[in-house]
């Protein structure tokens, strides 16, 4: 006589769900999607700044996640592993977009030294007294105004805590380029947060 075991998926930890999904359990994988879908979408949106593209790429990331699930050995959390997948997809997408457009003024400025280096240094804190949610809104608004190279390097360094070397590898550029992009991005952010630079 066969014995049926009911699995309480919502109460399982990620590790257990991943193990079940690795054995082909789609319900376990659906639970993982349910838990982390907002985080994966948010990362895609922070890099692409386009809702439709972010939805499509986060969906694609989950499909790739399922395909590569056997390669996940728990070296990081499942959420971190999935975030890396969506970041790589976003970078591919951004590279494709870059190929079909001409150099932006931002890139030209970066090559010449940039206007950011010439901006006066800000002091004191232009965001002092803001509520946390208000501050986050302001940071998000400022991020949206950066070029994708500057935004990406900031997201990878500040939100994903990646080191210069890893960022360079992901963005397929030199560490020197990462350092200069990060510098310009921070200076621009400082100016935007202080309201010194008019919105584009």
């Amino acid at each position: 006589m066969s014995k049926t075991t009911l699995i309480d998926y919502p109460n399982l930890l990620d590790d257990a769900l991943v193990k079940a999904a690795q054995k082909g359990d789609m319900v376990a994988f659906e639970e993982l999607v349910g838990r982390h879908r907002d985080k994966i979408y948010a990362r895609a949106f922070s890099m692409l700044r386009n809702e439709d593209d972010a939805v499509d790429l986060s969906q694609e990331a989950w499909v790739k996640g399922w395909q590569r699930l056997v390669q996940f050995h728990g070296d990081s959390s499942f959420a971190t592993w999935m975030t890396r997948i969506v970041i790589n997809l976003c970078l591919d997408q951004l590279r494709k977009q870059k190929r079909v457009r001409t150099d932006s003024i931002d890139q030209l400025e970066e090559g010449m030294g940039g206007v950011e280096r010439q901006m006066p240094i800000l002091n004191p804190n232009p965001t002092a007294g803001l509520e946390r949610s208000e501050l986050r809104q302001r940071i998000d608004k400022a991020l949206a105004q950066l070029s994708y190279e500057h935004r990406t390097v900031l997201v990878l360094h500040e939100f994903e805590d990646l080191e210069y070397k890893m960022i360079a590898k992901k963005m397929q550029c030199s560490i020197g380029t990462v350092m200069s992009r990060l510098f310009y991005a921070r200076r621009k952010m400082a100016a935007l947060l202080a309201g010194l630079k008019r919105e584009e």
Partner: protein, 176 residues
């Protein structure tokens, strides 16, 4: 870059920062803990004697600190069910899951599987009356030891005899 190469950050009459890019990115790397301990000591010493560099360091640190406050909470603009249905379709299109399952079969199952299949084929041949397979009047290395006899009537029976073992087996297929 060595600390001696750092020059005091100068600003023009409009307050613009004229520090060169090599200096600034090195300062930033120091703030991000991306320099060696020797470079860190040199940069710290340079910061201690240059107020302009300190001011820039404060700004970079401030942005870093503000970013650490986190991101705006963004939610997926579609329901869980709808999102999952699209993912399911995507999975169905790109990969038959059987490939993954096969790779996870234990080693003994991967070996026994083909052996069992071959045995099943032999048994089927026997059951279907393909007796020629067993028409071994002699077997290499044991010519006088093993004999088989093909059926001589409609019963389909086959006899296997081993002189060494002193054994005789008569196979009578069912369904005859």
């Amino acid at each position: 870059m060595r600390a001696e190469k750092w020059r005091p950050c100068s600003q023009d009459s409009s307050g613009r920062n004229n520090m060169n890019i090599d200096q600034t990115v090195k300062l930033q790397a120091y703030l991000d803990n991306e320099v060696s301990s020797a470079e860190a000591r040199e940069t710290a010493a340079w910061l201690a004697r240059d107020p302009d560099a300190r001011q820039l360091a404060e700004e970079l640190t401030l942005v870093k600190k503000l970013m650490a406050e986190g991101e705006v909470a963004v939610k997926l603009p579609e329901s869980r069910e709808f999102h999952w249905s699209k993912i399911q379709r995507g999975i169905a299109q790109v990969e038959p899951r059987s490939e993954v399952r096969r790779s996870r079969a234990p080693w003994w199952a991967r070996i026994l599987g083909p052996v069992a299949a071959a045995a099943a084929v032999v048994l089927l041949m026997v059951a279907s009356g393909s007796f020629d397979v067993f028409r071994l009047k002699s077997v290499a290395g044991g010519a006088q030891e093993i004999e088989t006899e093909e059926p001589t009537d409609d019963s389909g029976a086959i006899t296997f005899r081993s002189h060494r073992e002193g054994m005789t087996v008569v196979w009578i297929p069912s369904g005859r």
